[in-house]
Amino acid sequence: MIRTILCLLLIGLLLIGAAPALLPVPPVDTSAMEPAVREQIETERKTLEGEVKRGSPELAETYGHAGRLYALYKLNDAAQACFENAVRLAPADPRWAYLLGTVLQATGDFQAAESRLARALELKKGDAATLIRLGDVRLQLGKVDEARKAFEAALPLQGAAAAAHFGLGRVTLARGDAAAAAGHFEAALAAQPGASEIRSPLGLAYRKLGRLDDARAVLAGYGDGRVTFPDPLLEQVAALSSGSRQYVASGTTALREKRFAEAAEAFRKALEIDSKDGTLWANYGVALAGLRDLAGAERSYRKALEVEPANARAHYNLGTLLAGRGAWKEAIDHLEAAVRLDPESRDALFNLGQALADAGEPARALETWDRLLKLNPNDVEARFHHAQSRAALGRPEEAVAEFATVIAAAPGEPAPRLAQATALLAAGHDAEARARLEEGLARLPSSEALAQLLVRVLAASSHPEVRNGAKAWDIAQRLLTAGSTPEREEAAALALGELGRFPEALDHQRRALAATVPGSPDRHRLETCLTLYEKNQPCRAP
């Protein structure tokens, strides 16, 4: 009896040695898939069945190829079985162990993933992608010291520094060494500045070190840019795609990370497969706009609206693009459509308000800013534009008061101070304009725009009590030390005119004119003042 059992056992073992037992590949329901993908998968399945039937010597390769295809389409059960079979058939090939490891990692089988990745590393020592993944999986398993070793081994390898430092940062943070962690995260961010996700753990490391200002500063730039590393085997997997979704996914990621060329390419390929998707066209347009191909972007947005007339984003993007090139009427139509479709879109309301203001429709702009401010009364930028629209509507008193609230909310911004002074001048309150400008310049001494307007007020106000030529000249001289520009020369001329130093005023005014393009709207003003200086008269045009 024992002899019989032994014989059967030995036969079985010999059989296993001759041809390893293979796993059945779970069936995949292709019925609802994109036609191109369905065909690709069905062809692959038939090829695999045929190769298995004829006992092909290339069976490992066939299973590996099928596994890659299934992995590409996130059919993880089938992918796992295929890679497992490839590993059994070709145990010395690191590709299959690695790819099996990646599937197991993705599905959360971390123990098994570790074992497969470790095997892949044995077969292909010093492979950066394997080391990074092994480090990640070991960190997940709480094997902090082993994870550290993997990341350290990856550190000097081509293209792996950011991911390795990112891993080491997490390792050291887990051990409570915030200083070392901060160093690693800083190095990772330096190696991949677009990987803004690093900023979160870096900020937390700073916080632990008591560097709160640094933490806040680094977290202000936080985003979802991922840390990447070269992963040639998975790139091969991605290259197998015949469906649009892979391109959509990679395009969306590239767009998010502002890799516009890659995004455009991915969306273009997706659109070759599915040209009826308005969102795809809109995204393609965004990518093209990022590449400064504005004509292409416009075509894409229009195509998006052709296939999907109620696509709010396409309306928004097209309206914004058209506003950028001054096609106000159509821009406003599209932005209004965007707002109609998405009444709470603050971006669409903002751009609509700006387009209306730029198109010379301050009343409609004001209504739009009102709507935006109703959604968010704390929006300082919208408040600024709201005040601008009031000023444009000839309501400078209201504008002045509203600019004051903007200045209080954004004291470091020169624009609202400048706008407030301009509104005060328009209302004939030159003295107050001067006072506000002096106050602003004291707070923002490097603001040339504030300085220039102050010179103009001091030199050319129609209110004699406001004028102070000496002070104007003092400021104008300081501006000129930074070099000559038409605006600086004109300001100097105004100041010198007020001081009665007309020959010098003429010199500066001529220099301003010489540097001004013929036909420019400033030229008439400059020539008028020039004539006055020639007659030994000051110019009054603040």
Binding site: Y73, G108, F110, I198
Partner: protein
């Protein structure tokens, strides 16, 4: 021969089969589903029509609250109903209210049964229901309900018992200014400004329109349910209770939506004093965007500092698709730690509070993350299911993307997953024990809402689960009260309203204090038992109870017996400086 065989197999690297393990005694189930025998026959209707509308897989919640003030928890289930453009035809159902008819015999035997009292309550379905919050917003001593919807929300005022002895409700949404016509999911009653009136935080999810809807696609291009597009997130809403039956929308004034960046698709809300300053803060679990930690600035405004606090994104710096959330002191150090469940491929997240409102992601080390990696969690809460004095975690799951195997088998809603129970080992780590805790944990379902509370008043926590497009489950705890326990209901004001947000420190001789909080919020779209339940483990001695009321007052109480529920009222304890 025996030696020869052994040697041969050893050489061949084959191990002999191990001797069968000694037979273990059958382990007792911790939770048993008794919905049917208890009379709870609620079936959620998601209104699915094959269009793969995202809202159809997101509902619904359930509430445990004492509707009739008879001392036991009644049940309220949120219904979905018809879903689609106005001409869509699907069978309508209703929210359902079940009265708890618990009877405790002279021998202490408890007979639990529920009676459907929806019809006489006056509660009816409005727009497509998602979640529910429970709280006495007008301080009349009767707990009211706020139902969140895809569309207009509903505020149901509890009018108390009528002449026939039935509790009735009146819808006062518009009158009270409490509506939000957007897609709301979680909501929470809280008194953020210490004025003695419950305010309302409404978590809003995404812009959704049937007109512009189109199904999303899998990597292979097959139609599937969509995930959130972060740009489509709509702002949450904070409604201030004016004390005259009216709410005022102070979202913007309070800084809750300072910039569009602050908007996230909210699916979970937990309110608690996270930074230990005595004021109630708000934590919002968002889907695929950073979570928010709104710290109460004590002047009517809030500031979101989640990223700096370490509770906005995972320790790796990634935003997660958070759904259910709860705050509780799992490590016994006296502060509120945050746990939340996430999408498949993310695992559960545990943020440990250092007592100052700064958090550390300890998900991996705690053992909560890896076992949940393959699952998508929804309802979840801290509970001490075995009354051993440590907070455990129960999570109900259900995917949001089709599961191939189930779809192949012809399942019309192939999103089913099993529930999980994590036992707190007391050393910062948890062990998943669902499989040993009852057959119900092995039943794959599309679970969404889960509400936690002691339905039979026997001193342990039971769980009610609302399954999407399926029957509800009532999980009765079989074992918790074998340890000593102490239950409290904390009331404030007159005639007495649950003091949501109050924290209780139970001091024990020679042992660290235990901390629990009065809360109904958390989990997913659901409302929990407002009472606090202390499992005392092996240390039944109680030195005293110190209550930190939401008003800022701190009082000590001594007379609360073990093995019973006791009501403590604000102002009746000894003031603690």
């Amino acid at each position: 021969m025996r030696t020869l065989l052994g040697a041969l197999l050893l050489v061949l690297g084959v191990a002999l089969p191990a001797a069968p393990p000694p037979k273990q005694p059958a382990t007792e189930e911790v939770f048993v589903d008794r919905a049917k025998e208890l009379g709870v026959d609620f079936v959620h209707v998601n209104g699915m029509s094959g269009q793969l509308y995202m809202p159809e897989i997101m509902g619904a919640g359930v509430a445990l609250f004492d509707v009739d003030n008879d001392g036991d928890l009644d049940l309220f289930f949120v219904q979905g109903g018809p879903l689609g453009p106005k001409d869509a035809k699907t069978v309508a159902s209703s929210h359902r209210l079940y009265r708890n008819d618990l009877v405790v015999g002279p021998d202490g035997k408890r007979t639990l049964h529920f009676t459907d009292v929806t019809a006489e309550s006056g509660i009816r379905l409005g727009d497509y229901g998602m979640g529910v919050a429970a709280g006495d917003f007008d301080n009349d001593g009767w707990i009211d309900l706020y139902v969140t919807c895809l569309g207009s929300n509903q505020l149901w005022h509890n009018d108390g018992s009528n002449k026939s002895g039935h509790v009735t409700f009146t819808e006062v949404t518009q009158k009270a200014g409490a509506d939000d016509p957007r897609w709301s999911v979680p909501a929470s009653f809280l008194d953020y400004d210490r004025d003695g009136w419950l305010d309302l935080y409404v978590g809003n999810y995404l812009k959704f329109s049937f007109e512009t809807h189109k199904p999303c696609r899998t990597a292979a291009g097959a139609p599937d349910y969509c995930g959130p597009v972060p740009a489509d997130a709509v702002p949450d809403r904070l409604l201030h209770n004016r004390g005259d039956g009216m709410f005022e929308d102070i979202t913007v004034k309070a800084g809750i939506t300072a910039t569009a960046v602050d908007d996230g698709p909210a699916l979970g809300v937990s309110t608690a004093d996270f930074n230990g300053d005595g004021w109630i803060d708000v934590y919002v679990a968002n889907d695929e965007t950073p979570n928010q930690l709104w710290i109460n600035q004590r002047n009517g405004t809030f500031k979101n500092d989640a990223l700096l606090a370490g509770a906005g994104v995972s320790g790796e710096g990634r935003p997660q698709a958070s759904m259910g959330v709860d705050a509780g002191d799992y490590d016994g150090d006296g502060d509120e730690d945050l746990v939340m469940d996430n999408l498949t491929g993310e695992g559960n997240t545990l943020y440990r509070n250092d007592g100052t409102g700064n958090f550390e992601d300890v998900s991996r080390a705690s053992g909560l993350q890896t076992p949940s990696w393959k699952l998508t969690g929804f309802g979840a809460a801290w509970l001490d299911y075995d009354d051993d004095s440590r907070l455990d975690l129960l999570v109900v799951n259900g995917a949001v993307k089709k599961i191939d195997e189930q779809a192949r088998a012809g399942d019309s809603l192939p999103l089913k997953q099993e529930k999980q129970l994590f036992h707190n080992l007391g050393n910062g780590a948890f062990e998943e024990v669902g499989k040993q805790a009852g057959a119900v944990f092995s039943i794959p379902e599309v679970s969404r809402g889960a509400a936690f509370g002691d339905l039979d008043n026997d001193g342990d926590t039971d769980v009610v689960v609302s399954n999407n497009n399926g029957p509800a489950r009532v999980l009765i705890n079989q074992i918790g009260n074998r340890h000593p326990w102490l239950g409290l209901r904390l009331l404030t004001g007159k005639p007495g309203r649950d003091a949501l947000g109050a924290r209780v420190e139970l001091r024990r001789p020679g042992k660290p204090s235990l901390w629990r909080r009065v809360r109904t919020d958390g989990s997913y779209a659901s409302a929990n038992d407002p009472r606090v339940l202390f499992g005392l483990g092996d240390s039944p001695q109680v030195e005293r109870l110190v209550v930190h009321w939401p008003s800022g007052k701190v009082e000590a109480f001594k007379d609360a017996p073990v093995g019973a529920y006791t009501t403590l009222r604000e102002g009746t304890g000894a003031a603690v400086p």
